[in-house]
């Protein structure tokens, strides 16, 4: 409580880092564009129209997507870790990503089995977004409807995992019966992608994420009370059930919309809160919420920059990169600090 001044410096440093990484990110890509030209294009005096197109319609939306995905997943990871009092919780413990995978799998592979009924073009990424949001919300509502009857938050965690197992099994069954081509298509979706969003989709994502962030902000006080456990939180005047719903819905909006638009992206949501706690040595969500938002964006931009594989024409799957880069960092931290702080 005596340290907000020192954190101001960290926040400033992170914001500067974020801005720098943003420019680094958009200046790199499979097509080489000189840095000078990148800036010229950004500030509206470029002569090369194809570079202009690449930067404004591909790289900038992608960089923003990376920022939103990183922020949103990290925040929902923080919410879940506090709600479930579990350092291993992440944005997907309530089965959101499995639900979304189910939606995508049903569309890509299920529709393949029933081509006569589904006559629309399944290559269309809008239908994919709709299918995976429907999937994740289906699972989220199933979990919520169980949550009404359950008093113990820990049971909710297990129920979320069970729903994940069920949807995972359905996806396996679908994969077993589908064609190699469809399976590959589904696998591509599951790699995650930051680059497929148009400006209007990005606007929609921003809108949904803003609601999720707003709900998280009004939950800051209950989140801090939950650090003591639910009985203590109640004795401090917190309405446990209501707060729990708000936190779950916030997570659903954040993680659900991101998974729908960018595919399942592993690791970020689990790891960022832990990495953030290494820098911001506090448990106060008033500091942690903005900190994970910025730090998540920074980490995601770094991962995306690496995924572009500077100097190469190919783009690596982002879902793999986040784990390859991130998991060793967490292992290193654990060995160095000897314990996973929560």
């Amino acid at each position: 409580m005596n340290q907000p001044k020192t954190y101001k410096f960290y926040f400033l440093a992170l914001v500067i880092l974020l801005v720098v990484l943003f420019f680094v990110n958009i200046s790199l890509g499979s097509v080489f564009i000189p840095i000078k030209e990148t800036f010229a294009t950004l500030f509206g005096n470029s002569s090369n129209t194809s570079w202009h197109y690449i930067i404004w319609n591909y790289r900038i939306p992608k960089a923003f997507t990376a920022i939103f995905v990183g922020s949103g997943l990290s925040l929902s990871g923080l919410l879940m870790q506090t709600l479930f009092r579990n350092p291993l919780a992440g944005p997907f413990v309530l089965g959101i990503s499995s639900g979304s995978s189910l939606g995508a799998a049903l569309l890509i592979m299920g529709a393949g089995l029933l081509t006569s009924i589904f006559s629309f073009d399944i290559y269309n990424n809008v239908t994919l977004i709709i299918a995976s949001s429907l999937g994740s919300f289906l699972v989220l509502f199933a979990v919520l409807s169980v949550a009404i009857k359950i008093k113990d938050t820990m049971s909710l965690l297990i129920i979320g995992l069970m729903f994940g197992s069920i949807t995972g099994a359905v996806v396996s069954v679908l994969s077993y019966f589908t064609t190699a081509e469809k399976l590959q298509q589904y696998t591509y979706w599951s790699f995650g992608s930051l680059g497929d969003l148009s400006w209007s989709q990005l606007a929609l994502l921003t809108g949904i994420l803003s609601i999720g962030i707003l709900l998280s902000i009004i939950s800051i006080k209950p989140l801090n009370a939950f650090l003591l456990g639910e009985n203590y939180a109640q004795s401090l005047g917190i309405q446990i059930k209501k707060s729990r719903y708000i936190i779950i819905i916030a997570t659903g909006l954040l993680a659900g919309s991101i998974t729908a638009f960018a595919g399942p992206i592993a690791f970020i949501g689990l790891a960022t809160p832990h990495l953030t706690r290494q820098i911001f040595n506090t448990t106060d969500h008033k500091t942690l919420v903005p900190a994970v938002l910025i730090f998540g964006a920074v980490i995601m931009l770094i991962c995306d920059t690496i995924a572009q594989f500077p100097g190469s024409e190919s783009v690596l799957p982002i879902n793999a990169i986040t784990s390859i880069i991130g998991a060793p960092v967490v292992i290193w931290l654990l060995i160095k600090k000897q314990k996973m702080v929560f």
């Binding site: 005596n2 650090l227 456990g229 004795s235 401090l236 005047g237 506090t282």
Partner: protein, 256 residues
């Protein structure tokens, strides 16, 4: 501020039937007094405490604070009347002592939990009263059981409620620390004029230290000063007499 328990039955409600653990409990607590609830394992000491804290409803009877039913209080209103120290460990041991104590101010802070000068003053007072100034910036996982218990008491004090309920506050502590904590609680009750109610198995210490004791039995409970309870031979019936006998001369139990 007084808390009145009138003729309550405690236990658990289920769809089929109510499970009554203890019946006909009545007492009223005055401010500035420390009271212990004693009884054998499973008799419902913690259940009684939870019922008084409005965590679960009584099966019968009424509990009132200042003549208002506690079931009518909102969670937030009750939070400014009753603070708790529970047996369960806190969820995040990564909290620093001062952060944990500051959480006790939640019923009074704004939507973000910003601490005002009054809040900071109350936190400081709580820390000084419990004498843990040197621990302020430690994290909870660095504390011993005795230290953590003092911190939890400081948190309850920071909540600034006229009533403090503690569930077995001395259970993991050695004799020295048990007495230390209980003397601290007695001191707080007498100095700050708070009502303190705690459950315990340390009957001998409670007899020496408490202003009042509530002996919990399945059919009836007894509430009085320790001396009167000894005179009326209520401690004799607490345990099966073929195993343990109560010696009213020394106020302690002997193996039969």
């Amino acid at each position: 501020m007084s808390i009145k328990v009138e003729n309550i039955n405690i236990g658990y409600k289920s769809k089929k039937q109510d499970t009554v653990i203890a019946k006909n409990i009545s007492f009223s607590l005055k401010k500035g007094e420390i009271t212990a609830i004693v009884g054998i394992n499973g008799i419902g000491k913690s259940t009684l405490l939870r019922t008084i804290a409005n965590v679960q409803p009584p099966l019968k009877g009424s509990i009132t604070i200042d003549d208002n039913q506690i079931t009518k209080y909102s969670a937030l209103d009750l939070a400014s009347k009753i603070s708790l120290v529970l047996t369960e460990s806190i969820a995040s041991k990564n909290l620093t002592v001062i952060e944990l104590i500051a959480l006790g101010r939640q019923p009074y802070t704004n939507w973000l939990g910003t601490l005002t000068n009054i809040d900071k003053k109350k936190i400081k007072e709580a820390i000084e009263l419990v004498e843990i100034s040197d621990l302020q910036h430690k994290r909870c996982f660095e504390l011993s059981d005795g230290q953590l218990q003092r911190v939890m008491i400081a948190r309850a004090l920071a909540q600034d409620t006229p009533i403090i309920l503690l569930d077995e506050p001395t259970s993991h502590l050695d004799l020295y620390h048990k007495v230390q904590i209980l003397k601290l609680l007695k001191n707080i009750a007498h100095k700050t004029n708070k009502t303190i109610l705690y459950t315990t198995h340390e009957i001998a210490i409670a007899i020496q230290l408490c202003d009042k004791i509530c002996i919990l039995n399945t059919e009836e409970s007894f509430f009085d000063t320790p001396c009167n309870l000894i005179k009326q031979n209520h401690f004799e019936k607490l345990f099966p007499t073929d195993t343990i006998k109560f010696d009213s001369g020394t106020g302690s139990f002997k193996i039969a």
